[in-house]
């Protein structure tokens, strides 16, 4: 038995798949971009010592259908990739959860537990019949929808400036964390599909994926997404023109490039 396995056994199971699901076990959302890999992990809430803050454990468990050697090396490289991307974001000042432990041998990544709510739950259009819930939450967090959109655009721009592509931008993968005596902050989470790239194409596709996620989870959200792009544009400065024209191309053809030629 390994130490990390003991830690998992004593932890609170939260979900299989997406990182942003809350303890109430929401139905896990499979966006079109979630490949098998991002489903192949379990998420827990745990504590390393009795008086420390809680952490979130992501366990990439062993896959029986893969050869053990291949499995170990894939798991290791994915944990490493996610950790490196997070560190790169932290270096660039992007709001992401801090890393708390890494055990690549056992496929465990421990990150800071974020107290807050996902942007998805704060925006209208979640489930029918609970219309007032978002309004209450927005009030409780002391933030308006417009301010959230502004934070979303700014944070993505900061991330893209560091040449990090998230790969799975959805409103579920953004958390709002309230701060005492100041405006709440937005934290990007779940870098399981993230990678590094300087290409305009990748940044445009990242935005396109978010646009699709917005439109499919939140009805009538075109104006919201427009203000995300406005904030993004402001932060990106000169790089925006190229990304914008590429985004228009991507909208016409979809996220996959043509395989012809």
């Amino acid at each position: 038995m390994s130490a990390s396995q003991n830690l998992i056994d004593s932890a609170l199971f939260i979900s299989q798949g997406a990182e942003a699901a809350s303890i109430f076990l929401l139905p896990v959302i499979f966006s079109p971009d979630n490949d098998i890999d991002s489903i192949g992990q379990k998420v827990y809430k745990a504590q390393l010592t009795s008086n420390s803050s809680p952490i979130l454990l992501k366990h990439r468990f062993q896959k029986q259908y893969r050869h053990p050697t291949l499995d170990a090396s894939l798991t290791r490289s994915r944990i490493a990739g996610e950790a490196r991307t997070l560190l790169r974001c932290l270096r660039a000042g992007v709001n992401v959860p801090g890393i708390r432990m890494v055990d690549a041998t056992n496929g465990v990544l421990g990150i800071q537990w974020i107290e807050g709510e996902s942007v998805r739950k704060l925006l209208p259009g979640e489930a029918e019949g609970e219309d007032n819930e978002e309004v209450d939450l927005l009030q409780e967090y002391g933030i308006s929808i417009d301010e959230i959109m502004n934070l979303v655009g700014t944070e993505i721009a900061k991330m893209h400036k560091a040449d990090v592509i998230h790969g799975d931008l959805t409103t579920s993968n953004m958390m709002i964390r309230p701060i005492k005596s100041s405006q709440a902050e937005l934290i990007l989470i779940d870098f399981g599909l993230a990678f590094q790239s300087t290409l305009t194409e990748d940044k445009a596709v990242d935005l396109y994926v978010l646009e699709r996620a917005f439109l499919s989870t939140h009805p009538d959200s075109e104006p919201m997404f427009a203000s995300v792009l406005a904030a993004y544009e402001q932060r990106m400065g000169n790089d925006w023109a190229a990304i914008k024209s590429r985004l228009d191309d991507v909208r016409l053809r979809g996220r996959k490039r043509s395989m012809v030629g």
Binding site: S2, A3, N6, S10, S53, R91, G93, V102
Partner: protein, 195 residues
């Protein structure tokens, strides 16, 4: 002295760390010399001497917070429990985890005790027993001539400029200690998968 107990390591490896902060320290150069000599001593005498200073001596000015230290200790304990130590002992592994490069000598020179160390964090890792607590405390007292301080005073000692230099954090705002702290904790935690 404080102790950190990592329950999930019990039965797998050493699960407890005893930590004491000394500031100021009077005999830093003597401690350093003692460690160097002890490593060369042979026979029973050598065993006894090594046992007497079986600690990690960490330059306290390079530690930004309790969580920073705790993370380094945890990664060292984890490595020991998996027989994957990259240095010779679990104590030197803490110093290795703290340094952002893979150079062990550099890690010990930077983060270990040096002749000019003014404040030291003394850490002992072992299995957690009540009896070993007072025993460890006695050994620490014998080894270190300094004033014992609560761990909470750690943050007052931090040399932010040097930490930023080691981690190559040049762009960060000079007063923004919180984000430097966040960064170094993460850097320590992901040390094993660093490129």
């Amino acid at each position: 002295m404080e102790s950190f107990v990592f329950d999930h390591v019990r039965g797998v490896g050493s699960d407890s760390a005893y930590v004491a902060l000394y500031s100021p320290v009077a005999n830093a150069s003597a401690i350093r010399k003692r460690i160097m000599d002890a490593s060369k001593m042979e026979g029973e005498e050598g065993e006894r001497e090594r046992d007497a200073i079986n600690f990690a001596f960490i330059d306290a000015t390079l530690i930004t917070s309790r969580l920073h230290l705790q993370t380094a200790i945890h990664q060292a304990i984890l490595a020991e429990s998996q027989n994957s130590l990259r240095t010779k002992t679990v104590h030197s592994e803490i110093l290795f985890a703290l340094n952002p490069t893979n150079n062990i000598t550099e890690a010990i020179r930077r983060y270990g005790v040096s002749d000019s160390s003014r404040a030291l964090l003394v850490v002992h890792i072992g299995p957690g027993h009540r009896s070993s607590l007072s025993e460890t405390e006695n050994k620490m007292k014998k080894a270190v001539e300094g004033v014992l301080k609560p761990l909470g005073e750690l943050e007052e000692l931090t040399d932010w400029q040097r930490i930023k230099k080691y981690h190559r954090l040049n762009t960060a705002d000079d007063e923004d200690h919180a984000s430097v702290n966040d960064f170094v904790i993460s850097a320590v935690a992901m040390k094993t998968v660093m490129q």
